[in-house]
């Protein structure tokens, strides 16, 4: 019987994490559209609820009541599995994100590797969706996104190595605690910029949204999806974007730490600081979406392999030799 107690306690904890994430995904979609509109001197969604805050809820209702169409020539099992996988993978990564020193669902030793592994699995949702649709545009979109995500993962991995050299631990809480003296954004600023751009590419955000480039591929891998299945792709995508923002703020912006370690700022709980940092990064994402035109495919590949990869490798060597020379390598 004690097992059931443990299981219910865990489920309770998980619900307390997942429900806020899902609600914030809905809010973040609204914020994204709103920022996008303001940059282009439009109003954006402002009708449903105060400031249009309930727009995402209305959209969700619309998606739920629409018919789900499964194409006759599609591979039905995989077609249905693809959005489920995308959304599940986007949500399970949140288990290891620390919101403050003790507010973390699973404080595992290899937290950063776990997030990296889950985000590298994210490509399967897209490939499966694109292949199972059995149609030209989704397949092209899926192939594009697979190549794109695999190549930008390499540079993200090397950037993470940079941070790990300064920390000496793969635990996310340790990474945040190591930044108490100085946030890693200051010594590793070039890596922060590259990480930001790579996470744009990793989450298929504009200007790297080639998998769903509407001018060439209709809607990329989502073309054949409708109703709630389409909405699940969407939810997964935005949960992934939030996750990358959270990862960026944990790796470089000091996670739950307050920017100034002084009296009035110390009282604010760490979770609020983390949320503020995530929001800051997300608004940057939205501003980039509104201002930068889409990259061409070969330019995207060139940026990933010929510029980001060598730069981050050089920075690994620089960081390692700096730490070694001044005897600053973290002791285990």
């Amino acid at each position: 019987m004690e097992y059931f107690g443990i299981i219910f306690q865990q489920i309770y904890k998980i619900l307390f994490l997942i429900v806020p994430v899902l609600v914030s995904v809905a809010m973040i979609v609204w914020l994204d559209r709103r920022v996008w509109a303001f940059v282009q001197k439009r109003q954006g969604p402002n009708v449903v609820g105060p400031f249009g805050l309930l727009q995402s809820l209305a959209d969700a209702l619309k998606y739920i009541f629409k018919e789900i169409i499964i194409p006759a020539s599609s591979n039905k099992v995989i077609f249905v599995l693809a959005p489920i996988i995308t959304m599940t993978l986007a949500l399970i990564a949140w288990a290891v994100i620390p919101f403050s020193e003790d507010q973390v669902l699973a404080n595992i030793n290899v937290g950063i590797l776990y997030i990296f592994a889950v985000s590298s699995l994210g490509v399967y949702g897209i490939i499966m969706g694109g292949w199972a649709s059995n149609s030209k545009y989704p397949f092209l979109g899926a192939i594009r996104s697979a190549a794109q995500m695999v190549s930008y993962e390499v540079s993200i991995g090397i950037i993470i190595i940079n941070v790990l050299l300064c920390v000496g631990s793969l635990n996310l809480s340790d990474i945040v605690i190591a930044q108490q003296e100085m946030w890693f954004v200051i010594p590793l600023f070039p890596m922060f910029v590259i990480f930001f751009i790579s996470s744009l590419a990793e989450t298929n955000r504009p200007p790297f949204d080639l998998p769903e480039a509407e001018a060439e591929l209709v809607a990329g891998y989502q073309t054949e999806y409708s109703g709630m299945m389409y909405a699940m792709f969407w939810l997964g995508e935005y949960a992934n974007i939030l996750l990358m923002c959270a990862l960026g703020s944990i790796l470089f912006l000091g996670g739950w730490l307050s920017p100034i370690d002084l009296y009035p700022f110390n009282l604010i709980p760490g979770a609020i600081w983390l949320i503020l940092k995530i929001l800051f990064l997300f608004i940057l994402f939205a501003l980039v979406k509104a201002t930068v035109p889409r990259y061409r495919y070969d330019q995207l590949m060139r940026l990933g392999w010929k510029i980001f990869l060598p730069l981050s490798l050089i920075y690994v060597v620089l960081t390692a030799s700096y730490l070694f020379y001044f005897n600053l390598l973290p002791t285990i």
Binding site: I78, L113, F116, A146
Partner: protein, 210 residues
């Protein structure tokens, strides 16, 4: 411990069934998906015995990169629907004897290794080393890999690099007459080279040679 046993059996049953399905399923793309499921359940087993670093690296390397390439190749070659029935057609039955020989060999190797490990523990030197529980297995792996076995580690890296260079050399072809973009040329273009202002006489137009 009951929960541990339940999880172990669930993961290993999934692993075995999906490994069988890799070879049995008719659709090649389905085979690759079963292979991915197999990798994932194996890495779950790794995590269960406390080797969380190996499990995660398995996920990142095999599932995140290698299986994507497999999937790529299988999808691009358009061999999704295999025409041959398993075991029944004449063409594929040729390979069965070779496959049988290899699997018998692997089976005997496994018996030797597991039997030796079980009944003659002093046969293996690594058994002498005590597992230190204070440090995480990431640290202990790093300590062994970068001190005692650094040369072997470096040589294996070199072999992988040489394999990569070899693959590039074998497939690289210098093509003639291909137009490539030079970013430096594009950026350093000036207004004087790009635009020409002409006085156009009315009703006669102007001829631009291109």
């Amino acid at each position: 411990m009951i929960a541990h046993a339940i999880f172990f059996y669930v993961f290993s049953i999934i692993a075995v069934i999906s490994a069988i399905m890799v070879t049995v399923s008719k659709n090649t793309v389905h085979s690759v998906f079963f292979l991915i499921l197999d990798f994932i359940s194996i890495s779950c087993l790794f995590i269960m015995i406390g080797a969380e670093f190996l499990g995660m690296i398995m996920l990142i390397v095999y599932v995140g990169a290698v299986a994507v390439l497999f999937l790529f190749v299988v999808m691009m070659l358009n061999v999704a629907q295999q025409k041959n029935q398993w075991l029944s057609s004449k063409e594929s039955s040729r390979h069965i004897p070779i496959g049988l020989v290899i699997s018998v060999l692997i089976f005997f190797e496994l018996i030797i290794v597991i039997g030796g490990w079980k009944y003659k523990p002093d046969l293996f030197k690594s058994n002498d080393e005590k597992i230190i529980s204070e440090i995480s297995n990431t640290h202990s792996l790093g300590q062994i890999l970068y001190t005692d076995y650094i040369h072997i580690f470096q040589i294996s890296g070199m072999i992988l690099l040489i394999a990569m260079i070899g693959a590039i050399v074998l497939t690289f072809r210098q093509r003639e007459g291909v137009k490539t973009q030079s970013y430096i040329k594009q950026i350093s273009r000036e207004r004087s080279e790009g635009v020409e202002v002409l006085d156009i006489p009315s009703n006669r137009g102007v001829k631009i040679d291109d």
